[in-house]
């Protein structure tokens, strides 16, 4: 039998396939199409302390083998999430990751504290709904905060440090490929006590409407994701995995089992699938099947045999 089991900070993942933040809602929509309890985990839509309307204007644009998005962190806010989604999340038998963004350090900290408190209450009642906080300091689509925190290690350190203190939940930090030094950033997260890092978020990128002579996006730049960026994402995951001892969650353009195996070989503990959910509604099911087939065929009984082999 192939063993796909993985662990991050004591949290079990049945398999390495985790759905990426912002591409899977809070799981409800895709649950209509397949049993999402078969996944390794899900990372919910990025939350901020206060509800956010997101960006006006065009929010998506296709590029060669990729897509630009400018959602701008539209979300119902941490409180609404805790009230409206957690009763469903507590029944999910997978690793449940809350993706947390913010405009100011205070917002990040207050958001994390709220999630933490709610989680402790729930845990007491035996109905935990959140396993991990994924700190999003890398969203390129919001004006204030967001990625601003994810560019320079010194700036990011303060956010990570304070959020670390605000929660007893395992903390992973989601890194931006736009960071000046992504390896240094990851090392900083480890120093500050994060239980892991996830990478990469989208690349800051641009599309100009040459007829209208303006950016397609109101927010000027947008975030590039999808197969186009996979070769760069893989390199970054490899570099970061070599530099830190905490688990690395790898992502960026993953669309098939080979991609997953590459990220694991590059050192990732688990991986996330984002844009590919839009290509195949049943991406989770398909990838799991492909991954099992690959491991049987290549005679790999556990991912530990190949993790970080490069």
């Amino acid at each position: 039998m192939t063993n796909l089991h993985c662990t991050i900070a004591g949290v079990d993942f049945k398999n390495p396939i985790v759905m990426a933040s912002g591409t899977f809602g809070f799981g409800k929509e895709y649950a209509k199409y397949y049993d999402i309890n078969r996944l390794g985990g899900i990372s919910g839509k990025g939350l901020t302390l206060h509800p956010k309307e997101g960006n006006d204007g065009i929010r998506v644009y296709e590029t060669p083998s990729g897509m630009l998005n400018s959602v701008g962190l539209e979300n119902p806010g941490v409180r609404a999430f805790l009230q409206q989604e957690c009763s469903r999340w507590e029944k999910l038998d997978i690793a449940r990751i809350v993706n947390l963004g913010g405009n100011t350090i205070e917002e990040y900290v207050e958001g994390a504290a709220l999630i933490n408190e709610d989680n402790m209450n729930r845990e007491r009642e035996g109905r935990k709904a959140v396993d991990i906080i994924e700190l999003n300091i890398s969203c390129p689509n919001v004006k204030a905060g967001g990625m601003a925190y994810g560019i320079q290690t010194v700036t990011a350190r303060e956010v990570v440090r304070q959020v670390r203190q605000a929660t007893s939940l395992p903390l992973i930090v989601k890194l931006s490929p736009n960071a000046e030094d992504i390896v240094g950033m990851a090392a900083m997260c480890q120093e500050e006590g994060a239980e892991g890092v996830s990478l990469i978020n989208t690349f800051s990128a641009m599309k100009i409407d040459v007829y209208k002579r303006r950016s397609v996006f109101n927010n000027l730049y947008a975030g590039l994701s999808g197969p186009a960026i996979k070769p760069i994402a893989l390199r970054m995951v490899h570099q970061v995995s070599k530099a830190v001892t905490i688990p690395v969650i790898g992502m960026g353009g993953i669309s098939n089992a080979t991609d997953i195996i590459e990220f694991i070989m590059a050192g990732a503990t688990v991986i996330q699938v984002g844009t590919y959910n839009f290509v195949n509604l049943r991406a989770g099911e398909q990838l799991l099947q492909e991954l099992e087939n690959f491991m049987l065929q290549e005679n790999i009984s556990s991912l530990d045999e190949i993790r970080g082999i490069l």
């Binding site: 912002g22 591409t23 899977f24 809602g25 929509e29 895709y30 209509k32 199409y33 839509k45 309307e53 997101g54 006006d56 204007g57 065009i58 929010r59 998506v60 644009y61 296709e62 060669p64 083998s65 990729g66 897509m67 998005n69 959602v71 539209e74 999808g226 197969p227 669309s255 844009t275 959910n277 839009f278 290509v279 509604l281």
Partner: protein
């Protein structure tokens, strides 16, 4: 995987595609279509043009790379269909009009199977298509305009329910005309926002409405004209 039965050009750049195998759907709903493996990345949202037993039909215009690939489909080719998605048209009350601008006429053909006596307004910029089919499909009147502004042909006060579908500027004009005419009709617009997931998970198809953000794919594509904030 569904199978292409036929793919016929009905006007320059406009094709009628029949596919075997579908999961049903109500009027005004759409499917996400994909006739390729990896490239282009995203599937294309296309309205239901007609459904009969195990055959579903689409009417599409070649607008770019994806629809160009659709246009090259031949009988027997495989095609992937996900759907039906979206809210679709609510059952109308009273006298009903369908106003379609260009390829925006597509969803009304199937709608006529349910609302058999609606008046139909078809506006084309150059070539007209499917006009005879529409004439056969309704017991109401069919008005055709080529090269003008189809909205000018419609008396908004003559109907209890009006469904509109077409390019963004036309739908914006619908909203203005609703206010100007003081029409008491329930007036709907069917929006064509760019989409990724098609099922309400990614928020890229957001529609700014008077009471906040809605999703074109899941809350729409059909909205009351008055609730949309056009930009």
């Amino acid at each position: 995987m569904a199978e292409v039965l036929s793919n016929v050009q009905v006007a320059p750049g406009v094709f009628r595609l029949a596919v075997k195998g579908h999961d049903g759907g109500r009027m005004g709903q759409f499917y996400m279509l994909r006739a390729w493996d990896r490239y282009p990345l995203l599937s294309r949202p296309i309205s239901i043009f007609d459904i009969s037993r195990d055959v579903i039909e689409f009417l599409y215009i070649v607008a770019g790379e994806g629809t160009e690939m659709f246009s090259r489909l031949e009988t027997g080719d495989p095609i992937s269909l996900e759907g039906p998605f979206g809210n679709g048209f609510e059952k109308p009350t009273g006298k009903t009009a369908f106003i379609g601008g260009g390829i925006g006429i597509a969803p009304f053909y199937y709608a006529l199977r349910e609302i058999k006596n609606a008046d139909v307004y078809l506006g084309f910029s150059r070539d007209s298509y499917m006009v005879d089919e529409f004439r056969k499909a309704t017991t109401g009147n069919v008005y055709v305009d080529i090269g003008g502004i189809i909205l000018n042909s419609v008396d908004f006060n003559a109907y209890d329910t009006i469904y509109t579908c077409g390019p963004h500027p036309m739908l914006h004009a619908v909203q203005r005309k609703q206010i100007e005419s003081g029409s008491k009709a329930k007036i709907y617009v069917s929006l064509e926002n760019r989409m990724a997931c098609g099922i309400g998970a990614c928020l890229v198809c957001s529609v700014k409405c008077k009471d906040g953000r809605k999703k074109a794919c899941a809350d729409g594509p059909v909205f009351l004209a008055e609730e949309v904030v056009f930009e």
